[in-house]
Amino acid sequence: MGMEGIGARVARKEDKRFITGKGRYTDDMVVPGMKHAHFIRSPHAHAKIKSIDTSAAEKMPGVIGILNGAQLAEDAIGNIICGWMIHSKDGTPMNMGAWRPLAQDTVRYVGDAVAIVVADSKTQARDAAEAVVVDYETLPVVTSAIEALKDGAPQLHPEAKNNLIFDWEIGDSAATDAAIASAAHVTEMKVINNRLVPNPMEPRAALGVYDEGEDHYTLWTTSQNPHVARLVLSAFYNVAPENKLRVIAPDVGGGFGSKIYIYPEEIVCLWASKRTGVPVKWNSDRTEAFLTDAHGRDHVSTVKMAFDADNRITGFKVDTIANLGAYMSLFSSSVPTYLYATLLSGQYNIPNIHANVRTVYTNTVPVDAYRGAGRPEATYLVERTMETAARELGVSPAELRKTNFVREFPHQTPVIMCYDAGDFEASLNAAMDASDYAGFAARKEEAKSRGKLRGIGMSCYIEACGIAPSAAVGSLGAGVGLWESAEVRVNAVGTVEVLTGSHSHGQGHETTFAQLVADRFGVGIDTVSIVHGDTDKVQMGMGTYGSRSGAVGMSAVVKALDKVEIKAKKLAAHLLEADESDIVIENGELKVAGTDKSVPWFQMALAAYTAHNMPEGMEPGLKEGAFYDPSNFTFPAGCYICEVEVDPETGKTEIIQFVAADDFGKIINPMIVEGQVHGGVAQGIGQALLEGTHYDAETGQLLTASYMDYTMPRADDLPSFQISTTETACPSNPLGIKGCGEAGAIGSPPALINAITDAIGNNDLTMPATPQRVWAALGSAK
């Protein structure tokens, strides 16, 4: 692998700027003449806008312009769309209501944008916003998806009767019912997956610049996929033609899904720049982030799992209601369907599965993909059910899982996915060894002697990453293809630039993508630059989410490297008067194998650009591009074990140990992979123990809209993690990569809740398992 090649634990190249304060995030950008925006937002969860009076505000100091939905309509700016078509089981298309970037007649959640004030300074914009008078007529509110489906509930969109967006199913209902009817044992549960607020530490921001001279637009934005943003802004929102629009996502301070989407603010800032004639910058404060960043999860499900007399699963039936909030966000429809129900087979052989999913409008923030997106919800159902079933059947949780593991690959599940590789027992065993599972009983006794309740829980997750084969997702309703692009440019001096459509917002691509080049050509990673996040530099790409940068983005780089290698070898063979097939690349040299004849890498590159002595017919230069479309999803899997101690006096849970054993396939940089697991597990623990999103049911006010009310995991809430990996290569892409970005957030919540319910002897516990809830559950267990 070499010191800096594939598999090497290389410190990150990008760190230097971040640790010295030289990172460049959107809100750090300053352009000449730049002015500041403040959005006026609805304080009501549901209301008619009767009038907007800006007359007093317009006279305030520094105010340049105040724009609202009527002007947006004048310029024919389009509605925000959901890019994944789902059909209900009766064949009708999903019922999508209109989402105006600035609400025109009706507001549907607290935070819905109504107008934008542009002024010389941020404070002036804020002050003027205070003087804008919006007259609202409030309407009845509904925040719970279950309530919203009931007859007589407040109606959000005329398109969606009873607020139902679609009623979708997957799998064989009759066969699953039959399996349940003839089962030796059926485990039934009601499971809630709590709504979460993603909270990347960098709040969203946008800087829109319209250049009148060139009739050209530039948007700096906090995006995980600037190319998709450009496509959507031009093709659907009609803000600017694609060839006249440059979107730049510079350093981005975390995303976790919430920065995939194109939000009203980006559309409006860009449009407002043209309309007011000044560059317009907006940056969200944290309260706005809580009120407007797409939330995650929010499912309520009932499940039935059927077992035969040998404890083999014979059927799994799921009924889910998913709250999508007030509007359909970009990928919102795919999350509770194809990213969710297709993973309900877990790591197990389950012959019959059926899931029914209803998605619902409510007066809450739109819900979309958040780290894991659908797969945490599926894993939580499967793994809570498995643990519960083990308790009911009186077998050990590990035994029940082993009895049901998929052991032969490829394995076709009844819900679309075809698992290509894996060794589930290997990760289970690794996690049990690392956690000294066998010694748990003694530790529980010891804890008891101190008056504490110990519990242990496991979770065996599988997820689908590397999304995804374009034709496959297209047939399922996706509005885009999910390939990735790369271009490898070898400069005349032999340094290398890799242009990628993947986007790094913490994942370390500047290092790991460079490692691929170092591995291939034996050049140092310091001579390799990774270019991403700018639509003027990289032609097109699909961005980073769904753990796709490794499996898909890197595969595109590999394809481009293959082409460069072929040409470089041809040229070297010509220069060395040798046969092309005898050329090997080693330590920065192209050598004739078995001889001492060689040409240094940089000299070969120079020869490609001087073009004085080229093989016949070869074009000058050394630059190759590639698009890679995956042939399958990838299937990271693993086992997480959590051991907790609950204080029965206070209900407080302490995590004694958290063990992760993951199979991510090939690993490019173990240090970065470990970091991804740490971060994912922390978010999963946050969901299980701390993070609760609460709306007031009467008014639709978000009660947890700040760090005073929404409990982010702090350093002293978490333990250090014990993590390790096992490896089965992924046959579906050239590097054998499965992906690691979401596993931690997917696998950890059920391990935590399985551990706590084991400790307290009451299985009825809802996330987040706050001390108050645990204490109450303890009371009812007695």
Binding site: F18, T123, N199, M201, G508, Q683, L718
Partner: protein
């Protein structure tokens, strides 16, 4: 309007700002030192931590005018002469950062913590001390490692400095 003068990273600076201007705004907008970040509006995330007269302070919690006459060090002023501060180096070595947004505040808090404890730190203390700095990316695991490693490397030096 207030006239504010202070020393920032060893340079004397002065500027005019509205009375309500926060120190973090003055640093970012007037001085163009954008390494200090704003991650919340309730003084809880710690992305904005700088040193004011040798102590870690959340610069979103203080008016620029209150820092008049003070000695301020921001993340940009921590490395000396191209040489990384040991805490900066430890964050890189131990992968204590991912997106980098919380990092300046984390590092400034960690430097202050190590100085106050004279390098005598254990995991529990580091985790408690980091209560005011939120990171969404790293799960803190590698941040804790970095702080402990930097503390042990700086150990003696800081003890002398603290005594």
């Amino acid at each position: 309007m207030a006239n504010v003068s202070m020393t920032v990273n060893g340079r004397s600076v002065s500027g005019q700002c509205e009375d309500r201007t926060l120190l973090v705004q003055f640093i970012r907008e007037n001085l163009g030192l954008t390494g200090t970040h704003v991650g919340c509006d309730t003084s809880q995330c710690g992305a904005c931590v700088v040193h004011v007269d040798g102590k870690a302070v959340k610069s979103c919690t203080m008016l620029a005018a209150q820092a008049d006459g003070s000695e301020v060090v921001t993340i940009e002023g921590l490395a000396s002469g191209g040489e990384l501060h040991p805490v900066q180096a430890a964050f890189r070595e131990h992968h204590g950062l991912q997106c980098g947004f919380c990092t300046p505040g984390m590092i400034m808090s960690a430097v202050d913590m190590i100085q106050r404890h004279g390098g005598r730190l254990d995991e529990k203390t580091v985790r408690q001390e980091l209560e005011g700095n939120i990171c969404r990316c790293t799960g803190y695991h590698n941040i804790v490692k970095a702080v402990l490693d930097a503390a042990s490397k700086m150990g003696d030096g800081t003890k002398v400095a603290a005594e």
